[in-house]
């Protein structure tokens, strides 16, 4: 069961995690086959080559496949069963494509690419990389695999390779704005400001109104302490992506540099956790591949933490659709709805949680929190006492309970519950509360 969260303490999954797993095995070898190119296929290919005596055919099928890398399929035993099944099914499809001597390079490339995407979608980056490499060897002009390899390189800090690959993508697919934006971001991090500026400008050549490119140019200007230019670029980015409230922070820093603290403060008041993202169809596709209630939950929590509440609610709803009895999905949906201001919907989710798991302290606490805000102190008290029956050491619940009792002027009772809080160093809650 994935973890639940409280409204004011939402969970976050750390940056992408990879498989959890046992010593590596060469996936194909494990299935009783040699890693590619294996002996059997080499023999078959050579036979066919001899049969057709076609040099070009040999070039297509023989030499490319000689260069394929071994794919180390991961141990899936620690993964959720849905994920395991989904990956196994894709592995079988790849194995069938490999086995079939009539599979063209293009089709085999697709099979490796699809396998890589699925691994990538579940953050199994090492086998994803191997699959993409094979897909790229078999279809060197297909920008997708180079792009996704570059994304992995970028993620894992192989910046020189990432730069080379993004440049290749840019030449193969000049209209893909994500390539120069990614390049610009890498150059920024390397403090190669001229290169970064050039890349973001190139992105604007492709898409004039691209907020990520404007934001990048703003960061370049900020690094150069050209604050007025930074303001211009950040304001443009904000105009194009008004929901990206993290831009306000950058704007505040630029205004601070312009010795305009008042404007800086105004923007700081509006800053938030949502950043600018470049449209990235290939990475978006990865997200769509995921079919796991648990991953929906994780993604929902990531979105929740980033302040993308609508997206978070959608992920939690998907998690509930996949598993209606999912307690954390209901609790987190409740927490998200609270953030969206749908307090009635939130309370319903917590109540649904308690129907599934009557001892869920998070649901009790969150419901109590909502009830307390709604001045329904009596009902809040019931839920808080439920929390403390299950976990007497929950100081947060205890504090809220004492506050609710004080609101109802039940001071003796409040004093009883308060003792442990005082021992823990909390301030005394006055009773009755003013």
């Amino acid at each position: 069961m994935a973890r639940s969260t409280r409204m004011l303490s939402t969970a976050k999954n750390r940056t992408s995690q990879e498989e959890g797993l046992a010593p590596a095995v060469r996936g194909l070898a494990e299935r009783g086959q040699a890693p590619l190119p294996d002996l059997f296929y080499s023999v078959v290919l050579r036979f066919l080559c001899a049969l057709f005596v076609s040099l070009s055919w040999v070039n297509c099928y023989g030499q490319h496949r000689d260069n394929l890398v071994a794919v180390h399929h991961p141990d899936l035993s620690q993964l959720e069963s849905d994920v395991r099944n989904q990956i196994t099914s894709q592995q079988n499809a790849l194995a069938a494509a490999i086995k079939d001597p009539t599979t063209s390079d293009a089709k085999l490339s697709e099979a490796f690419g699809a396998m890589g995407e699925l691994y990538h979608a579940y953050s199994l980056t090492a086998p994803a990389r191997e699959c993409y490499m094979n897909a790229n060897i078999l279809a060197p002009q297909d920008y997708r695999w180079i792009y996704l390899l570059a994304k992995l390189d970028q993620l894992e800090g192989r910046v020189d390779v990432a730069i080379r690959r993004f440049r290749t993508v840019a030449s193969l697919r000049p209209e893909l704005v994500a390539a120069p934006v990614n390049l610009g971001n890498i150059y920024l991090e390397l403090n190669r400001l001229d290169d970064a500026e050039q890349s973001f400008s190139a992105a604007l050549q492709i898409e004039k109104q691209n907020p990520a490119a404007h934001y990048g140019l703003g960061q370049v200007a900020l690094s150069r302490r050209r604050y007025a230019d930074a303001v211009t670029q950040f304001e443009k980015a904000l105009e194009l992506a008004p929901a990206a409230n993290r831009i306000h922070y950058a704007l505040a820093m630029a205004y601070r540099g312009l010795q305009n603290p008042e404007k800086a403060k105004l923007h700081l008041a509006e800053q938030g956790p949502v950043g600018v993202r470049v449209a990235d169809p290939l990475m978006n596709r990865l997200a769509e591949l995921v079919q796991s209630a648990r991953i929906y939950l994780i993604r929902g929590k990531q979105a929740l933490e980033a302040g993308r509440f609508e997206e978070a609610a959608a992920e939690f709803r998907k998690a509930i659709a996949a598993n209606p009895q999912s307690v954390p999905a209901h609790v987190n949906l409740g927490a998200t709805l609270t953030q969206l201001g749908d307090l009635k919907g939130a309370a319903e989710e917590f109540e649904k949680t308690l129907l599934i798991d009557p001892n869920n302290t998070n649901a009790h606490y969150n419901l109590a929190f909502l009830l307390a805000n709604d001045k329904n102190h009596e009902r809040a008290i019931v839920h808080l006492k439920a929390v403390l029956t299950i976990n007497p050491n929950d100081l947060g619940a205890r504090l809220l309970l004492v506050q609710q009792l004080a609101k109802l002027s039940r001071c003796d009772e409040a004093a009883e519950w308060q003792q442990k809080l005082i021992e823990a160093g909390y301030k005394t809650v006055p009773c009755p509360l003013k």
Binding site: R3, A11, N13, L155, N191, Q219, S223, Y249, L268
Partner: protein
């Protein structure tokens, strides 16, 4: 205004005098050493292995500890070591039946090691825990050092998962648990702590940073994005808030968290460093939070603080993102006279360098300093600004260790797949750093789950050594082997009782145009406590024009032409209030 107070200058007899003479003679001619740091812990009797009590339930505390301290508990002029130990996490667990069982006959507990350098002229440690009276058997996290009662003996504050402990140094080689008497307990999950004198009354106050409202009972199951089980982030738990204790000068402390205003904002706190960031003569506080904006508590000079981190540009990174702050240190790395801040973070984030533009206005210059990409590869914890090569410019060390399972290590069958190498960055004297890989020393390449790092001159040879603590692993003592390369000035700043004047700042005037600013501290890094002495690298300079001291109470002193390549004690002869 410069107050001309009586200054007592004492030249400390150097224990390794002959070594220094040799060192000075060789200072310019000898080739650079092949190895900067040699790891010698076992060799010098520092035998300690951290125990984390893990049972496979992925409890967050088991991967977070623990720290260590370099401090001179017996006032014999050399640095002793205290090492924090873990324990089991559930009452029903037995240390010998956890995933990495405890094999020793005595239960796990924090340990005190006495440095025998001054009595034997040889760097050697003796475990004196039994005699010391320190009984630290709780689930330990960190340690802070400072003399809380102005008796000239350094006391210990131990942070735990659960009740903390204050150990008062009796001055006879033993300590007594004074937690209840001093009223400095905090039963929450505390991490780093710092002693400093925020109200300039001549008595050390204490700030304790707390991390997460964890209990074995409330620990949820967490998953990686592969869908496999993994460690939770702190955000699975509420942040409990920090605590500020004011020293009442009568052996007790008062909890002034609310009065001082520091209860208003907090996050999942892990690191703390105190310094006068706005250069107004009053010590400020910087708290590094894991996943939440950091706080910069600016001292309002009236017993209260105001968090100004956001406008100051030190709450989040340049992209406006709150990062996973772990360890933190402050120092004037660029030589402009202001305290800069460096914070370690998760892998795939960068570590972050906030340069102080003056008056506590900061700018994230991580990538300009060349510290962006190198930090992305690892999860950093302990970190220190220190001048390892005594060239007069503060370098950086970062000790790393992941907090979520590393697939590459799992594939290799590593039973604790969180290990990562350590990193050292040399100051290029132009606002940037370069990672030193080949010369750092073989221990830097070892994959360990490093957490704490404490700096100090353990062998009194005039360069800075580093104590590194490893989670579920052995302690490391990285002995600096660069002593013979550059000149240095060692300073110990004390009051008339012999208390180290934490928070005092020094300006070492090498020439009119070359002024090095350092501060006296034991805080900074992660869960650890540092040598309060100040070592100032002088490069090839063989003399110093003056040392200007600003004491924590605001008074100033000046010492003309102190001798270099040795330690000098400067005493403030002012009555304690």
């Amino acid at each position: 205004m410069m107050l001309k107070l009586f200054v007592c200058v004492a030249v400390v007899g150097l224990n390794l005098g002959p070594v220094h003479l040799l060192a000075n003679a060789q200072s310019k001619k000898s080739p650079p050493p092949r190895t900067i740091f040699n790891e010698v812990a076992d060799k010098v009797g520092l035998t300690f292995r951290h125990y984390n009590g893990m049972t496979g339930k992925f409890f967050l505390p088991e991967i977070m500890g623990a720290g260590g301290a370099l401090f001179d508990y017996d006032n014999d002029g050399d640095l002793d070591v205290y090492l924090v130990q873990g324990s089991v996490l559930e009452a029903t667990d037995k240390p010998d039946s956890t995933m990495f069982p405890w094999r020793e006959t005595v239960s796990p507990r924090g340990r005190l090691f006495r440095n025998e350098l001054n009595s034997t002229r040889k760097l050697q440690f003796t475990d004196v825990t039994e005699k010391s009276g320190i009984l630290a058997t709780r689930y330990g996290m960190g340690v802070a050092t400072g003399d809380i009662n102005n008796d000239g003996w350094t006391d210990l504050y131990l942070t735990n998962l659960g009740a903390n402990q204050m150990y008062l140094n009796k001055g006879d080689g033993t300590f007594v648990d004074a937690t209840q008497n001093t009223k400095t307990d905090d039963v929450r999950w505390s991490t780093s702590a710092a002693f400093f004198d925020y109200d300039r009354d001549g008595w050390l106050d204490l700030m304790v940073v707390n991390y997460a409202d964890f209990s074995a009972a409330n620990s949820p199951a967490c998953y990686a994005s592969t869908s496999a089980r993994d460690y939770c982030t702190p955000r699975a738990f509420r942040s409990p808030g920090n605590r500020l204790f004011h020293n009442r000068r009568d052996g007790t402390f008062e909890d002034v968290t609310a009065i001082a205003g520091v209860e208003k904002e907090f996050g999942h706190g892990l690191g703390i460093v105190t310094a006068d960031f706005d250069d107004d003569g009053w010590i400020d506080i910087y708290v590094a939070n894991d996943g939440d904006p950091n706080q910069l508590w600016i001292n309002q000079k009236n017993g209260t603080f105001r968090n100004e981190a956001l406008l100051a540009g030190a709450a989040v990174n340049r992209d406006g993102k709150a990062e996973a702050g772990m360890g933190v240190d402050a120092g004037d790395f660029d030589g402009n006279g202001t305290g800069d801040i460096f914070i370690t973070h998760l892998m795939e984030e960068t570590n972050t360098l906030f340069t102080n533009l003056g008056k506590a206005m900061f700018e994230d210059r991580t990538r300009e300093a060349g510290l962006g990409m190198p930090g992305r590869r690892f999860t950093g914890f302990g970190t220190l600004f220190f001048d390892y090569d005594n060239d007069g410019w503060l370098d950086l060390i970062v000790v790393n260790g992941a907090v979520q399972l590393l697939p590459e290590l799992m594939r290799k069958g590593d039973p604790y797949p969180l290990g990562q190498p350590k990193q050292i960055f040399r100051n290029q004297q132009n606002g940037s750093f370069t990672e030193v890989i080949d010369q750092a020393g073989p221990n830097f390449q070892l994959l360990e789950v490093s957490r704490g790092a404490a700096s100090g001159d353990v062998d009194n040879d005039g360069d800075t050594d580093v104590l590194v603590t490893n989670n579920n692993g052995p302690v490391r003592l990285l002995l600096n082997e660069t002593a013979n390369r550059n000149h240095w000035l060692g300073l110990r700043l004390v009051d008339k009782t012999g208390r180290d004047m934490l928070g005092a700042s020094v300006e070492v005037v090498v020439t009119k145009n070359r002024i090095l600013r350092r501060r006296v501290r034991t805080d900074g890094s992660y869960l650890s406590a540092n040598d309060p002495r100040v070592i100032v690298g002088l490069g090839s300079a063989t003399r110093v024009e003056a040392v200007r001291v600003r004491w924590p109470d605001g008074a100033t002193d000046e010492l003309r032409a102190p001798q270099v390549d040795r330690y000098t004690t400067i005493k403030q002869e002012r009555p304690v209030r």
